[in-house]
């Protein structure tokens, strides 16, 4: 990883507002206070990605002060998970960031597996990668549709959601639900891959790049789109790192950092893909990163499919009777299997004492799970490191010299999912 030399200067030094990093305060020397109009954007507003509330001080059309207020979707996931067994907890992380469900589940399952020290069959690893990338594309499509909608390009929403539906079809076929699948289990996958998946996924892989071309035809060269996104919401590489940004926001600021590349998990070191990096640090760069990442993800999915097709008939979950539910057909023949089944379902499997931090590259950046186990069947503490939570911290820094319309564009480009922010 390295910070790529910028060809154009974004801005000098750091712009993190002081003393409070995450709120922009009205500069009384610049703005006459009686001209300031304070407005609540949200929690109910067409373009706040759910329930984000921005308290904005406006000087005419310009944003003079801003602070983000969050917590409207706080549902206490972390507390709830302390009351459930590890097995049941797997259904929770995906509901936190409901757009990148599968990746969140992966992070949590990886954390459990790290504590357990369990070996995962390679088929499960590759399928996990495949589904993670599908999730990434799904999330980026939702992002693209809604962000374009917020800038007024209404049609994009329907085009992206068409392809998103095709993506979700794959999830429905494999996992049984279109979102929130609980398909990844500690030790591997919940079920084998259905035979029809390969063909449909391949057809999807063929279709997707064309669809991305179409999106770019609408937006990429559109004069208004360029005007609205270029040079807006600037964030320098230093500021992005200092503010803990990750994922597309960080890569749009010129930092070549991708957990899949730099700290590979699963089998990301065995597939070839590029990490798109743009150095402008503005909304347009973030848009470009999202578009390129979708292309790269399609590449990864194709490679995963190639490998998965070779692995037909291989086991998809570890044969560890203390953790994994015994095979279905054994329940009627083997007493021991039935006992294990009952023990795992009622008590849950126990996870050795320890604390781990496991992180994956979610569509929004570094999604981390910090898990403490006391050796019992329930987690002692679960904490999610939510990339959107961090991304929203950067709103004030990005929002220098911005108009209301820019604010919408910037908040959209930071790609916050409120379920994840508030947890």
């Amino acid at each position: 990883m390295s910070v790529i030399e910028r060809t154009t200067k974004i801005y000098e030094g750091s712009r993190i507002p002081s003393p409070i990093p995450t709120t922009l305060q009205v500069d009384t020397s610049k703005h006459a206070l009686e001209d300031i109009l304070t407005i609540n954007f949200g929690p109910n507003h067409p373009s706040t990605h759910g329930v984000l509330r921005l308290v904005v001080d406006l000087d005419g059309e310009m944003v003079a002060g801003l602070s983000a207020v969050i917590g409207y979707l706080h549902t206490g996931f972390e507390k709830t998970m302390e009351q459930k067994t590890w097995w049941k907890c797997i259904t929770y992380p995906e509901r936190i960031d409901y757009v990148s469900f599968q990746v969140n589940e992966l992070a949590f399952v990886l954390a459990i597996e790290k504590l357990l020290g369990i070996d995962v069959p390679r088929k499960a690893t590759w399928m996990r990668m495949c589904l993670s990338e599908l999730t990434r594309i799904h999330s980026h499509l939702v992002w693209l549709g809604t962000s374009a909608l917020e800038l007024g390009a209404i049609s994009m929403f329907w085009y992206t959601f068409d392809d998103r539906d095709a993506t979700l079809d794959l999830f429905e076929m494999v996992c049984g639900t279109r979102m929130h699948t609980r398909y990844f289990q500690a030790g591997g996958l919940a079920e084998d891959i259905p035979e029809g998946f390969y063909a449909q996924a391949r057809a999807w892989c063929k279709k997707m790049p064309k669809a991305i071309d179409e999106y770019e035809a609408i937006l990429d060269r559109n004069a208004i789109w360029l005007k609205r996104t270029k040079g807006i919401g600037l964030l320098s590489a230093d500021d992005a790192i200092a503010l803990g940004q990750s994922g597309p926001v960080l890569r749009a600021s010129g930092v070549n950092w991708d957990l899949r590349k730099n700290m590979p998990y699963l089998a990301y070191d065995e597939v070839s893909f590029d990490v798109p990096v743009f150095h402008e640090g503005d909304v347009y760069a973030r848009y470009r990163v999202h578009m390129e990442e979708m292309r790269e993800s399609v590449r990864i999915v194709t490679q995963c499919l190639d490998r998965l097709e070779e692995m037909r008939g291989e086991p998809w979950i570890a044969d560890d009777r203390k953790v994994v539910l015994p095979p279905r057909e054994e329940l009627h023949t083997s007493m021991e299997s039935l006992i294990h089944h009952f023990k795992i379902v009622t008590e849950g499997y126990v996870v050795p004492e320890g604390e781990v931090y496991s992180c994956v590259e979610s569509p929004r950046g570094e999604f981390g799970v910090y898990v403490v186990s006391d050796g019992g069947p329930k987690p002692w503490r679960v904490k999610f490191r939510a990339p959107s939570f961090v991304a929203l911290q950067a709103t004030a820094t990005c929002m220098t010299d911005a108009a209301i319309a820019d604010m919408i564009a910037v908040v959209g480009s930071l790609d916050g999912v409120m379920g994840e922010v508030d947890r």
């Binding site: 109009l37 407005i39 507003h45 067409p46 373009s47 406006l58 059309e61 374009a148 909608l149 917020e150 800038l151 007024g152 390009a153 209404i154 049609s155 929403f157 329907w158 085009y159 068409d162 609408i218 937006l219 559109n222 208004i224 789109w225 005007k227 609205r228 108009a403 209301i404 319309a405 820019d406 919408i408």
Partner: protein, 340 residues
Amino acid sequence: MSLVPHVLLSSGVNGEPWWIAIVKAFIVINLVLVTFAYLTLAERKIMGRMQLRYGPNRAGPFGLLQPIADLVKLIRKESFFPAAAIDVLYIFSPFLAAFTALCTFSVIPWGPGWEIGGYQINGYVADLPIALLLIFAIGSIGIYGFILGGWSSDSKYALLGSMRTCAQLVSYEVALALSVLGVVLMSRSLSLVDIVAAQANETWYVLPQFVGFVVFLMAGTAETARAPFDLPEAEQELVAGYHTEYGGMRFGLFSMSEYINLITLSALCVTLFLGGWHGPLFPGPIWFLLKLFFLLFLFIWVRTTVPRLRYDQLMRFGWKVLLPVATLNAVVTAILVVAL
């Protein structure tokens, strides 16, 4: 007789009786209202097809009863108003907007005129020597409806919306007026009937006045607050702009006046640049409608495709691009008209 304005008495250059004008005005208003109703349906249908969906198709065959269903819904809604609103202005503004919008159509010519039962019936409601000015004048009054509505409803979003409306409409009015100057110079008249007649003799003004035509369309888009210049009601920024606090039929009136302004503007564009009702084969009104629908389709198409401009970009575009271009166009036309 003395109660009837002088305008109507002298309306017909061909001596049309005044009561025919009133009947015609009634018919035209209703036709415009029907066009408005089905324009909303057409917009939703066309946008739907462009967005891979059907658009409304449940109310009646092909959703043809949808406008009526919408009307019934709007009328049946509670007509509340915010406690802090200035109620007189709050209630008055939608009516002002709707009234002025309906008024302006009166001077648009849509046919050659016919003689039925010995009576001369002209293809317009009124032919004024200053028809073009009248449209702009009444249109400017209509802006008050939007501004007052947003201001009096005592909501910050509505206030921002009316601020934007105010600035945008005033700015683009200038470019709009300048863009038609070339046409006026070429036809040497402010009367729309004369302008149409002049185009029938020479050529459609869209060819010699192409720059004026483009500027007119752009400024007109801004004037009617359509995408990409729909900042006064930018949903993603200002929730609904100046009519955030309006509901029921009052909102319906605002919405109606916007659409009727769009229809009027397209009709004006047809009259000024596309040869009015003239065309081969079909009778005049058909040609008029065809050209009108083409322009309306264009507006809908634009709305489906492009993102919205930012406020300062909008202002810069209006003052720094459209206005100089329109001025230059007018000056060049003036020189050419005088020289030739």
